[in-house]
């Protein structure tokens, strides 16, 4: 148990206490769980957030390319 472990436990515990404390105190005015349905989510993605979907695709493509390139071994 070195110093760093203790410090991190304290920091994380502090964060946990604060977040838990604040969210349990607040009145969320929430109703009941309602099932939205996968069909609605899919429609929302393609209708309202279509552009974002395409950009995310681009991001994943770039990440794949970048990952392959960064992990390449030098050829002898």
């Amino acid at each position: 148990m070195n110093r760093h472990t203790i410090a991190s436990i304290i920091a994380v515990a502090g964060l946990l206490v604060i977040v838990l404390g604040s969210l349990l105190v607040v009145n969320w005015h929430a109703g009941d769980i309602s099932q939205i349905g996968t069909e609605k989510v899919g429609n929302a993605v393609f209708d309202d957030y279509g552009f974002t979907f395409l950009v995310i695709g681009l991001v994943m493509f770039t990440a794949m390319l970048g990952g392959v390139f960064l992990a390449k071994e030098d050829e002898k």
Binding site: H4, S8, I18
Partner: protein, 654 residues
């Protein structure tokens, strides 16, 4: 266009000459001496015109005259609406008197210096620059209309004195005499400044006209007493009164023309002028007046004792100057005291009359001494003698000067000295202090006659000494000013009888102009007059017996151990010079060592300490940077928690 409106030009011409000679003097003939004479002469002409208009009354009807005073002024610095500093001129009869004296003596001395400083070579330019500067600032001091302006010129005059005393600065004695003069007068200047500050904060103004029309009362009177005392402190320094008299005998290291102009006729009079100018303030504070009178009387007596046995011709004249200045202060003090008790103000008039006469005969005596020194090459009177045969004009003019200063009638010195002593005797009826001062004054008159004629007999009569073998009369340029000054010295008493007379022109309070016959009658029926005449003749007679007829040997003065120790005491100037030196070395230097220790250890210690602390702190704080990423991340998480708490506390979140 009245000539008086051009009065502000009077100091401008010599100052301009100083600049011109300073810049271009190397190429001019006589190192720029003729320009200096020209500027002084122009100032003289304008001064004469101003004085004429003051005397014949056209002064009273010109513009700008209020209460018989001509004033022109402009605001220099405006601090707030109540506090401002101005610059201007102020002309009344006292100013006219001083203008006359300063410009006549300056012009004659500069003419004389053409011949006296003839062998100086390249240094002449510096001499004429400094002399013209001096004449300019002295005239400015006389014309000033408020204390601040007068103080500025006062300091400038002190600077010129320093420059001129240390003219031959390669001589260590001259350099140190100049330094001493500056520092000792500086002590006086600090007191003057204190007085000005007190006056300014109490009365909110430094303008002469405004100050003199106020009447202080209550707590203001106490502050006014303090203020006038400190102003007199400035006068003590500049006019070489006891205890700040020590610089004047040493100031004789400068050229004789400088001694004649500055330390006999003009600069040292500035202190007396200051007290006379501030007379409306002084007459409200009798305590200061008594101090003025006492210091004046004591100085006169002490300085005369020191002159009795000095072998150096210029030193004797320097002590004589201090002594006569003491007379002037004594007259002002006693006269003011009389005025305070509503018994007339002849003291003011007699002091100013003595000032005028002293300027003429002391300048004459110094210039004659310069003529002698120029001819024989030494200042030691024991090496001189028998010069009366070869230097007839010098001998005769110096005789007139000596008779005048000793107070032998009908020369001018008699009239003024007699009036001074009469004023002191009248004040004696008010307080026993003044009776004591009168006794000192009479004793001083005796000693004055004695030492002046000792000087004259030792120099001009008797067997020729070692140095007088190749003496010759001085050239005309030097003897002409001597003759002119001797006419003034002999005949200036006539101003008592012309027109309103001196008493009707320069007065304080009420004029006491009397017709000529009455003046003569009053003077010669008063037994005091005869007392002073007898005393002066006794002094002359004693000098005659000892130094001329040699009936009584001069060794009688050092025959007994008592007199011998007294003789040595006088030569050492009562040990005051050594005392001041020891004080400066032990106390002042010691204090400066303490201050130096404080500066090095405490103040530098604080600065070094701060940097030391910071360096150490840095040494500890650098360990935060561990290079371990996860510790940084820990700090980030902790920071987020703190931000959340702060947001909650400061109202960001509900």
């Amino acid at each position: 266009m009245q000539p008086i409106e051009f009065a502000w030009l009077i100091p401008v011409f010599p100052l301009l000459a100083a600049v011109i000679i300073g810049l271009l003097g190397k190429k001019m003939k006589q190192g720029g001496g003729y320009i200096a004479i020209g500027a002084a002469a122009i100032s003289l002409i304008i001064s004469v015109l101003v004085v004429v208009s003051v005397l014949d009354g056209s002064f009273d009807t010109a513009d700008g005259i209020v209460d018989g005073v001509y004033e022109q002024s402009g605001t220099w610095i405006n601090l707030t609406s109540t506090y401002k500093f101005e610059i201007g001129i102020y002309i009344d009869q006292l100013t006219a008197l001083m203008l006359m004296v300063v410009s006549i003596v300056s012009t004659l001395v500069i003419i004389y210096s053409i011949a006296y400083m003839g062998d100086e070579g390249g240094r002449k330019r510096r001499y004429y620059t400094e002399i013209s500067l001096f004449v300019g600032v002295m005239l400015g001091l006389v014309l000033a209309n408020n204390y601040l302006e007068m103080f500025i010129f006062w300091e400038l005059v002190g600077l010129c004195s320093y420059l001129l005393i240390g003219f031959w600065y390669h001589k260590p004695s001259a350099a140190s005499a100049a330094k001493k003069a500056f520092i000792v007068t500086r002590v006086g200047d600090i007191m003057f400044m204190l007085g000005i500050i007190i006056l300014f904060t109490t009365f909110k103004t430094l303008n002469f006209r405004d100050l003199f029309s106020m009447e202080a009362s209550g707590s203001d009177l106490g502050l006014l007493t303090l203020g006038t005392f400190f102003i007199f402190g400035g006068a003590i320094g500049k006019s070489a009164q006891f205890p700040l008299h020590d610089w004047l005998p040493d100031a004789m290291e400068g050229p004789t023309t400088v001694s004649a102009l500055i330390h006999a006729a003009t600069m040292v009079k500035a202190g007396v002028y200051l007290v006379a100018r501030s007379f409306p303030l002084f007459v409200q504070t009798p305590e200061t007046l008594v101090v003025v009178a006492i210091i004046g009387g004591v100085t006169a007596f002490i300085a005369a004792t020191m002159a009795l046995n000095s072998p150096n011709i210029k030193r004797v004249l320097a002590y004589s100057t201090i002594s006569q200045l003491g007379y002037m202060m004594l007259a002002l003090g006693a006269g003011g005291y009389l005025f305070f008790n509503a018994m007339g103000s002849e003291g003011y008039t007699s002091s100013m009359f003595h000032l005028m006469n002293h300027a003429f005969f002391k300048a004459l005596l110094f210039l004659c001494a310069g003529s002698v020194i120029h001819a024989v090459g030494t200042e030691d009177m024991r090496l001189m003698g028998g010069l009366g045969k070869t230097m007839k004009i010098t001998s005769f003019t110096m005789l007139i000067g000596a008779l005048s200063i000793s107070g032998i009638p009908p020369f001018s010195g008699f009239w003024s000295k007699d009036e001074v002593l009469a004023v002191v005797w009248n004040a004696g009826s008010l307080s026993w202090v003044f009776v004591l001062l009168y006794v000192l004054g009479i004793a001083t008159a005796f000693m004055t006659a004695f030492y002046m004629f000792r000087l004259w007999f030792m120099t001009f009569k008797g067997e020729p000494g070692e140095a007088s073998k190749h003496s010759h009369e001085s050239p005309k340029i030097m003897t002409m000013p001597l003759i002119i000054l001797s006419i003034f010295a002999a005949a200036s008493f006539l101003v008592l009888f012309i027109g309103d007379g001196f008493s009707g022109t320069v007065y304080f309070g009420d004029s006491h102009a009397l017709p000529a016959g009455e003046i003569l009658a009053e003077t010669f029926t008063d037994p005091l007059t005869y007392a002073s005449i007898i005393v002066a003749v006794c002094g002359l007679g004693l000098a005659y017996l000892v130094y001329y007829k040699k009936r009584v040997s001069s060794d009688v003065f050092v025959s007994t151990p008592v007199t011998k120790s007294l003789y040595n005491l006088l030569l050492k100037r009562y040990g005051l010079t050594a005392g001041y030196d020891a004080f400066a070395e032990k106390v002042v230097y010691g204090f400066s060592l303490v201050v130096d220790w404080f500066d090095r250890k405490v103040i530098d210690g604080i600065v070094n300490g701060i940097s030391f602390v910071l360096a150490r702190a840095g040494n500890y704080i650098r360990r935060i940077q561990t290079g371990h990423v996860q510790s940084y991340a820990t700090v980030i998480i902790a920071g987020i928690s703190i931000i959340l708490v702060l947001l909650y506390l400061l109202g960001g979140l509900r």
